[in-house]
Symmetry: C2
DNA sequence: CGTGAAAACGTGACGCA
DNA sequence: TGCGTCACGTTTTCACG
């Protein structure tokens, strides 16, 4: 359950195409990959069962939702003990402004990716939700100019038929 | 095209449900939201056309793909001029290990989220792809212990009928 | 925004290399 | 064992009220 799974070229092509558009029909997918629909479905359900495919996610534009400003917050939680960090993480995750949270090795314990409406909103968020908490020892804020989601994360496939994709911001 | 879009409660419910499982059938979605399937489809295509929905993405498990170790690399690019940073970003984005790249305001110009097989692979990546480049002045590596993708990113709906949801990862 | 019908799709069972 | 062909129930999707 923990280790990696063998992926043949067909699996790789399927995953690559699904990453570009996860809502493509299995029939189109099969014809593009060059196998029969049933085979394609078979591969996908196997990939799903083996845990390679975790799920399908909708990608939304934060700017269109009134969250045109994004930032990364480096947070030190002191003392860094389980009783404190558990609730801290849960609280941060529940914020509508949070996009993702990383627990890191290093002097900065957590990195939080947030999306807010403007700098006033960011200030409010930092002051009210972070520095106001007793266990938060320090917060360092860095604005995000631009952001790119990177390719398929797939192992270097033997064939090279993929195309670039971009995801900019304001 | 740049500013935010008005979303009524139906849109919000649709987006919230689709974020949990983007491959739910529109029929189920419609019945859960409480509208007819055609209306549901209408809303979705409108959201897609207006740019709120950027696309559908597959979530894969990096560990299952032989990339069980993740890290954040803070990179200083000096001198920080367009002629240098453009190719730099493109090169980094093209790495199969790269998950996302942030251009930041602050002393660290870029933050790169990478997924590698092990520490040896990480060392190779840092040495061969980052510090080996002339424009890279400094690289700071932080390992990721754990990571959480956060909720719906949806605006604080005027009504409070939403239910808790979680999205964890090893 | 809902209804209904036609077209397309998902998803098994079955046979072939 | 794995893949392709076929067929059925379901879903998507469009024109219309």
């Amino acid at each position: 359950m923990a280790d990696s799974v063998v992926l043949d070229p067909v699996d790789l092509r399927i995953l690559r195409l699904l990453q570009n558009d996860a809502r493509i029909t299995y029939r189109d997918l099969a014809s593009r990959v060059g196998v029969a629909p049933s085979t394609c479905l078979d591969r996908i359900s196997r990939l799903r069962r083996s845990g390679v495919i975790l799920g399908h996610q909708l990608r939304l534009d934060p700017a269109k939702l009134g969250r045109g400003l994004e930032a990364l917050l480096s947070v030190q939680v002191r003392p860094h003990r389980r009783e404190l960090v558990g609730p801290f993480v849960e609280r941060i995750r529940a914020l509508p402004e949070s996009r993702s949270v990383f627990h890191l090795a290093g002097p900065d314990d957590y990195l939080v990716h947030v999306a807010v409406t403007d700098t006033a909103d960011l200030q409010r968020l930092v002051l009210d939700e972070f520095t106001a908490r007793r266990e938060v020892a320090r917060v360092e804020t860095r604005l995000i100019f631009q952001q790119w989601e990177c390719g398929p994360l797939l192992p270097p496939g033997p064939e090279a038929d993929d195309q670039g994709e971009s995801s900019g911001q304001s």
